[in-house]
C-alpha cells in the first residue's frame, strides 16, 4: 500500500526537492507531535507548502492529507500558494497601528501594485501583514525577509523596497 501511495503522488518541481523533504521529516521522525515542526521547516525551505511535499508528509508520517491541509490553512505562517523571493511583513501591532503602520501598508500596496496577501507577478515580493513583531518601541516597523526596520515613514518604506529591487537586478 505505501508504495502505491508514493507512486500516486504529485511530482516535485525539482527531483532534489524530495530529498530535502525526506531530510526534514527524518529530523523529527521520532518526535511526538512532529507535524508542525516538519511543516514549518518545509514552509521555510520553499517559502510555501508545495502539494507534493504535503503528500510526502502524509505518506511518511501516516497522517491523512485532509488533516495536514487543515493545519496548513489554520496557521498564519503557512502558505499554500508560492510566495515571492522577498517577503515583506508590515507590522500591524497596536504600537505600530497608532504610529501609522496602516499608511505604510497603503504605500506599499500602491508601490507594488498588489494587495496584502498577494505576490508580485515577477515573484520578487510578497506583501503580508503581521500582528506584532515585538518592535513596538520603534514603531512603526516592517520586516523584509529577516531584516527588521524600525521607525519607518511612508517615504522611507519606498526606499527600503527600492534597495531590494536594486540588489535583485545586480
Amino acid at each position: 500500500m505505501p508504495e502505491e501511495a508514493a507512486r500516486a503522488r504529485t511530482a516535485y518541481a525539482e527531483v532534489t526537492d524530495a530529498d530535502v523533504v525526506s531530510g526534514i521529516i527524518n529530523t523529527y521522525r521520532d518526535e511526538p507531535g512532529n507535524l508542525l515542526p516538519v511543516m514549518l521547516d518545509i514552509n521555510r525551505h520553499f517559502n510555501w507548502l508545495p502539494r507534493p511535499a504535503l503528500e510526502h508528509i502524509s505518506d511518511e508520517l501516516k497522517i491523512p492529507l485532509t488533516e495536514i491541509l487543515r493545519v496548513a490553512s489554520f496557521y498564519n505562517a503557512f502558505s499554500l500558494t508560492p510566495r515571492g523571493k522577498n517577503i515583506i511583513n508590515v507590522c500591524l501591532g497596536t504600537g505600530c497601528f497608532v504610529k501609522g503602520s496602516p499608511r505604510l501598508l497603503e504605500r506599499l500596496e500602491r508601490k507594488l501594485g498588489i494587495k496584502h496577501g498577494e505576490t508580485t507577478e515577477d515573484m520578487e515580493f510578497t506583501l503580508e501583514v503581521v500582528r506584532c513583531i515585538g518592535c513596538c518601541a520603534l514603531a512603526p516597523a516592517i520586516r523584509v525577509g529577516e531584516a527588521t526596520y524600525g521607525r519607518v515613514n511612508p517615504d522611507q518604506v519606498s526606499k527600503i523596497i527600492d534597495s531590494y529591487i536594486e540588489t535583485a537586478s545586480l
Binding site: N34, A77, C132, A139
Partner: protein, 636 residues
C-alpha cells in the same frame, strides 16, 4: 564538564565574572531585535572594523535590551573598576568617533545617556560597585542611571540581567548568581517547600489571568501520574507587547532556571517552551541556552548530583493568536490545529498528551529563581494588596520614552506614563491608555491615578493582561481602535464556537459601518447587547474577552461613537470616509511639495500659486498634510 555541586557552580561563576567584567575596557552593544531594527548591527560592524583598524585592545561584546528601546542603538563602555557609560542613538559614524576617543584615552562625551556606578546582583542580594571606594568624576552629561526617570521607579526582577550580560553566555548568567536557586531547590529543599515558597510569595500568573502560581503548581504536583510536563508560554500574541521577547532574547537562562525549579517542584521530567515563530532571535538564543545548560549538566540527568532529571525542548508556533490559550497551545504542541477545548479537565489534571501539565508565561517563570533564592517575604515586599511583586510592561504608543519597564504592582498609570514614559509626544493631550491587548480595554485620562494591579484594572473594565500598555492621544479615534481590535480577534478566532466566530464578525461589521458614516441610531445598544452575549457564551478566553475593547470605548468614549453615528464626523479626524483634506488659500504659497507628494495627482496648481485638492481623486492618504511646512493643508 557537568556541575555536580555548589562549589563547581562557583568555579564557573568566577570564570563568568572575568568574562562579564574583564580587566580591559569592554564595549557592549544592545543587540536585541529592537536594537537591530534601530541599526545596532551596523554600529557593531563599525565598532568591529574601527577597533581592528586601530589595533585597540578592548573587548567587544553583545548584550540584550536594557529596556530603553526608544534611545537605541545603545552602546556601553565599561571601564574596569571605574564606571560603565551608556551611549544612546549611536550610528556607524559616532561608533567610529567613540573608538577614536578610546584610542586617545579620553571620555567620549557625545550621545551620552547615563553612567552606571553599580550593578545589583539581584539573586544574591548584593550590590557590586564598579569603583571602590570612589566613582570617578564625570561631566554632567552623564547623569546617574538611578536618577533617570525612566529607570528610577523600576525594580528589575524579570529583567535583572537584560542589558547586563551576554545572553549567549551561560557563564555570564552564572556570574550574576544564575542557577544558585536551582541548586538550592534541588539540594536543600523538598518539592513541597519550593511550592510553599512560591505560594507564600503571592506570585500570580503574569500571562494575564493572574491565577496564583503556587496553587497551580500544587494542583499539578498532587495530580496522580508518573509523567508530568511543564510548559512555558512564549506565544506572545498580544499586539503591542514584547516583554517575553525582551526576556528570551536578553536572558533566556532566567526562564530555563525557573522552569527547571518548577519541574522539580511538580515532579515533571520534561518541558516545552512554546515560542512564536515571529521571534527568530529569541528562539535562537533559547536554543543556545538550552544546549549550554545541557553541557554543564544543569539540564539533563541527575541535576546537581540528585535524582532529579529534566529535559527541555522548544516548539515553534506557527502564527495563531489563539495558541496563547493554554488548551489550544497544548493542541498545537501535539501537532494539531490550535483549537481550545472546554475546561475542566484543567491541564493540571489532563494536559499535554493527557498528562498533568502546568503552563506558565515567560515572565512568571523568570520570577521563580529570585523567589527561591531570596525567599517569599522578600518578593512579597514589592507590590500591593493582592498583587505582589513586579511585572514587566511594554510602554509604547504616544509616549516620549517607550520601552520595556518593570515596576512594582500598585504603581499608578499616571506614574507609568508621565514619570517613566516622560509624557506624551509633542505635549499633546492623552486620550486613553490601552492595557491587556485585544482582551483588555481603553482607560481614559480621568482614571490615570488608578493603581496598576489585577483588581483595579479589572474594576475599570480592562485587564492587566500580559503587559502591553499602549498610550493613545487626541489624534487616535477610539471607534477606530475598537474596530482595529475586533478586526484582530475576528481574524484570529479559531472558528470552533459560534458566539466568537460569528459574534466578532457582526461586531466588526457594525464598527465598520459606523466608521464609514453608515451608522444608525441604536447601533451602540446593539453593540453592547452583542458584546454581552459573546462574553457569556464563548468557549475560551479569546471570545470571552474579545468585546472588552468595544465595551470600554463605549463606556468611556460614547460621545465619539455618537459623533460618528449622528453627525457623520470623526472627532479625531482619522476615519477616512468622514474626513476631507483641503488647502487654505491664504496660507498656501505654492511651494508644490504637496503636489509632488500626492500619489494620485489629486493636488493641482502652478508654482507660487495656491494649490487645490480635487476631492474625487483624493484617497485621503495624508501625504499632503504631512508634507506641508506652512500648515496650509487642513483636515475636517
Amino acid at each position: 564538564m557537568k556541575i555536580a555541586n555548589l562549589e563547581q557552580l562557583k568555579e564557573i561563576k568566577a570564570r563568568g565574572l572575568r568574562l562579564t567584567y574583564p580587566d580591559k575596557i569592554k564595549v557592549m552593544v544592545g543587540m536585541a531585535t529592537c536594537g537591530i531594527s534601530a541599526g545596532a548591527d551596523k554600529v557593531y560592524a563599525a565598532l568591529t572594523q574601527r577597533i581592528a583598524e586601530l589595533g585597540l585592545d578592548v573587548v567587544l561584546a553583545k548584550t540584550g535590551c536594557i529596556g530603553f528601546c526608544q534611545r537605541e542603538p545603545l552602546v556601553d563602555v565599561i571601564y574596569p573598576k571605574q564606571v560603565r557609560l551608556t551611549y544612546q542613538a549611536m550610528t556607524s559614524e559616532t561608533a567610529v568617533a567613540l573608538v577614536d576617543a578610546l584610542k586617545e584615552g579620553r571620555i567620549y562625551e557625545s550621545q551620552s545617556l547615563c553612567r552606571i556606578d553599580q550593578e545589583d546582583f539581584l539573586v544574591e542580594g548584593v550590590v557590586r560597585p564598579y569603583a571602590n571606594p570612589h566613582p570617578p568624576e564625570l561631566p554632567p552629561e552623564f547623569p546617574r542611571y538611578e536618577d533617570l526617570p525612566f529607570f528610577s521607579k523600576q525594580v528589575k526582577i524579570s529583567l535583572r540581567n537584560c542589558g547586563f550580560i551576554n545572553p549567549e553566555s551561560i557563564e555570564e548568567y552564572i556570574a550574576r548568581g544564575g542557577y544558585q536557586a536551582l541548586c538550592k531547590a534541588v539540594v536543600e529543599m523538598t518539592p513541597e517547600a519550593v511550592i510553599d515558597q512560591v505560594k507564600a510569595s503571592g506570585l500570580r500568573g503574569r500571562g494575564g489571568a493572574g491565577f496564583p502560581t503556587g496553587l497551580k503548581w500544587e494542583f499539578c504536583r498532587n495530580a496522580p501520574g508518573e509523567l508530568k510536563y511543564v510548559i512555558c508560554n512564549a506565544d506572545e500574541g498580544d499586539p503591542g507587547a514584547f516583554m517575553d521577547r525582551g526576556i528570551l532574547e536578553g536572558d533566556p537562562h532566567a526562564v530555563i532556571e525557573g522552569m527547571a525549579i518548577g519541574a522539580y517542584a511538580m515532579g515533571a521530567k520534561e518541558g516545552y517552551v512554546y515560542c512564536r515563530a515571529e521571534y527568530p532571535l529569541a528562539i535562537d538564543h533559547l536554543k543556545t541556552a538550552i544546549s549550554q545548560a545541557e553541557g554543564l549538566g544543569l539540564l539533563g540527568e541527575k541535576i546537581f548530583g540528585s535524582d532529579f532529571s529534566f529535559k527541555l525542548k522548544i516548539r515553534e508556533g506557527a502564527g495563531a493568536f489563539v495558541c496563547g490559550e493554554e488548551t489550544a497551545l497544548i493542541a498545537s504542541i501535539e501537532g494539531r490545529v490550535g483549537e481550545p477545548r472546554p475546561r475542566p479537565p484543567f491541564p493540571a489534571q489532563s494536559g499535554l498528551w493527557g498528562k498533568p501539565t502546568t503552563i506558565n508565561n515567560v515572565k512568571t517563570w523568570s520570577h521563580i529563581a529570585p523567589i527561591v533564592a531570596r525567599g517569599a517575604d522578600w518578593y512579597a515586599s514589592f507590590g500591593s494588596g493582592n498583587s505582589k511583586g513586579t511585572t514587566v510592561f511594554s510602554l509604547v504608543g504616544k509616549v516620549n520614552n517607550s520601552g520595556l519597564v518593570e515596576v512594582p504592582l500598585g504603581i499608578t498609570l499616571r506614574e507609568m506614563i508621565y514619570d517613566l514614559g516622560g509624557g506624551i509626544i509633542g505635549d499633546r493631550a492623552i486620550k486613553a491608555v490601552q492595557t491587556g491587548g485585544p482582551s483588555g480595554g481603553c482607560i481614559p485620562e480621568e482614571y490615570l491615578d488608578t493603581p496598576v494591579d489585577y483588581d483595579s484594572l479589572a474594576a475599570l473594565g480592562s485587564i492587566m493582561g500580559s503587559g502591553g500598555m499602549i498610550v493613545m492621544d487626541e489624534k487616535d479615534c477610539m471607534v477606530n481602535v475598537a474596530k482595529y481590535f475586533l478586526d484582530f480577534t475576528r481574524d484570529e478566532s479559531c472558528g470552533k464556537c459560534t458566539p466568537c466566530r460569528e459574534g466578532t464578525l457582526r461586531l466588526m461589521e457594525m464598527l465598520e459601518a459606523i466608521t464609514e458614516g453608515r451608522g444608525q441610531e441604536g447601533d451602540i445598544d446593539r453593540l453592547i447587547k452583542m458584546s454581552e452575549l459573546i462574553k457569556k457564551t464563548s468557549l475560551c478566553g479569546l471570545g470571552a474577552t474579545a468585546p472588552n475593547p468595544v465595551l470600554t470605548t463605549i463606556k468611556y468614549f460614547r460621545d465619539e461613537y455618537e459623533a460618528h453615528i449622528r453627525d457623520h464626523k470623526c472627532p479625531a479626524k482619522v476615519c477616512k470616509p468622514l474626513i476631507t483634506f483641503s488647502i487654505l488659500e491664504d496660507k498656501c504659497n505654492g511651494c508644490q511639495l504637496c503636489r509632488l507628494r500626492c500619489p494620485v495627482e489629486a493636488v493641482v496648481g502652478t508654482k507660487k500659486e495656491p494649490h487645490q485638492i480635487i476631492q474625487e481623486k483624493c484617497i485621503k492618504c495624508g501625504a499632503c498634510f504631512d508634507g506641508c511646512k506652512f500648515d496650509a493643508v487642513v483636515v475636517d
